[in-house]
């Protein structure tokens, strides 16, 4: 099964935010909650300035930190590359929200679960494209399978100006001076590891205490068994 890829071509993007609105409508999100966020950068000296508005969302990492920290296995990585959430399993602990290096996840108080871009997995299952892609008025969002012969995705991936966010399914096309504004390659924050979420130090401390208590329980009884009952009346 081939992996999906999404390309965002900022040269075509007119910052109309239709993708965001379409996404919110498609996924029944309250107005204040959005799976697509925008970064805004300004370059140049007045009056010769340029602004770049870049949409970001779940990058669908190859090795997702959110999946690693999820205590119930609700977050998972599918074979076609999609990182998804099983809402039946999500308990809303938000470990994944903290672990995501792209701040792509947010808590939905209505569903009491965590929300993020799914590349519209339910629509994909019906043979449709993601809502944001279909809503884009300029065709700045290009989506498809990497191994699909002759697809627009495949053609663009061969183009040198298509920059992959390495370790993810996302690609960006931007003007040369904006290259450093593309989201950083997939990275693993220090806390996104079981060493932090599973607390080896604290657990060792608790184990030490339990060990001392057990040792004391046995030793006090062995060492004092021959001494009569006087301790009881202290």
């Amino acid at each position: 099964m081939g992996q999906y890829a999404m390309i965002i071509d900022s040269n075509r993007c007119v910052s109309c935010f239709a993708c965001r609105v379409a996404c919110q409508l498609q996924n029944d999100l309250p107005p204040e909650l959005s799976r697509i966020k925008f970064t805004e950068q300004e370059k140049g000296v007045f009056p010769d300035t340029r602004v770049l508005v870049l949409p970001t969302q779940c990058m669908h990492c190859d090795d997702p930190p959110c999946v690693e920290v999820c205590p119930t296995g609700a977050s998972f990585k599918r074979e076609d590359g999609l990182v998804l959430i099983d809402y039946e399993k999500c308990i809303g602990c938000q470990y994944c929200v903290s672990a995501c290096p792209y701040s792509a996840r947010s808590y939905n108080p209505r569903t009491k679960t965590v929300d993020k871009c799914t590349f519209c997995a339910p629509r994909l299952a019906q043979g449709q494209g993601p809502a944001c892609v279909e809503a884009c008025i300029t065709g700045a969002r290009i989506f498809g399978k990497v191994d699909e012969e002759g697809s627009p995705v495949q053609a663009l991936l061969k183009d040198q100006r298509t920059n992959q966010v390495k370790g993810t399914l996302m690609y960006y096309r931007v003007g040369e001076k904006w290259l450093d504004e593309i989201p950083a390659d997939a990275h693993r924050p220090a806390y996104a590891s079981r060493l932090v979420t599973r607390q080896p130090v604290g657990t060792a401390l608790l184990g030490l205490s339990a060990g001392a208590v057990a040792a004391s329980f046995v030793l006090t009884r062995v060492r004092r068994s021959g001494e009569g009952d006087h301790d009881e009346k202290d």
């Binding site: 604290g202 608790l206 205490s209 208590v213 009884r221 060492r223 202290d234």
Partner: protein, 228 residues
């Protein structure tokens, strides 16, 4: 038989509220730290645990603080004062106590109402409870804090919980299972301890209260009934 009043009703209510809250909060939070316990609770169990964790975690610190500050301010002040007063005997107590803990017999230096071990326990519980409450509220209002800060609150909350658990496990054992300190448990349940216990374990405190109305005389019959 003479007994000495050790903890008034408010102090005992505060102590057992804190104890209840700790046990419930630890059990409802442990599912996120210990995989086997999370699996045992299951998804629905974890969701309910999360809700209970918030209800207890928000209400009980208020209850405990209110009881200590409003209902027994005098003893609370004295308790806090004792926690910052340390002398050489306290240090010696701490050095000798491990031997006592593991069943040896030691002559421990004279102690006040709270011995050095109880003071350490109090300090650890006060500070870690404060951290738990602060980080707990920060997690509830996480959108008000910068992301990099929220990120570290999870491990701080969980790590402090485990430190608190380690301290409280040893504390509970000393009250419930250690032969030398069973009378101390009565002080926290009935509110009084035997005169012998007060003299042997808290000499400095005993000297202060032995001629005051802290001393209650219990009828012999009642005492025998309790002993048996």
């Amino acid at each position: 038989m003479k007994r000495i009043k050790r903890f008034n009703v408010a102090e005992r209510v505060a102590h057992w509220s804190q104890a209840f809250a700790f046990v419930v909060l630890f059990l409802t939070g442990a599912g996120l730290i210990f995989q086997f316990f999370g699996d045992f609770l299951g998804v629905e169990g974890l969701r309910r645990a999360g809700l209970l964790h918030r209800v207890i975690g928000i209400s009980f610190p208020v209850i405990v603080l209110a009881v200590l500050v409003l209902l027994t301010p005098k003893t609370t002040r004295e308790w806090l004062k004792s926690l910052v007063s340390w002398n050489k005997d306290d240090i010696r107590f701490l050095m000798l106590f491990p031997k006592e803990f593991f069943g040896g017999h030691v002559k421990l230096p004279p102690q006040g109402k709270f011995n050095a071990g109880e003071k350490i326990n109090s300090l650890l519980v006060i500070f870690s409870s404060a951290i738990m409450v602060i980080t707990g509220w920060m997690l509830i209002f996480r959108h008000l804090f910068p992301a990099w800060m929220v990120v570290w609150i999870h491990p701080v909350h969980a790590g402090t919980a485990l430190l608190l658990a380690a301290v409280i496990l040893a504390h509970a054992y000393l009250g419930l299972g250690h032969p030398s300190s069973r009378e101390a448990m009565k002080g926290m349940v009935k509110g009084t301890v035997s005169e012998t216990f007060a003299r042997e374990h808290h000499l400095l405190w005993y000297e202060q209260v032995k001629d005051t109305d802290y001393v209650v005389v219990e009828k012999e019959v009642e005492q025998t009934a309790l002993e048996s």
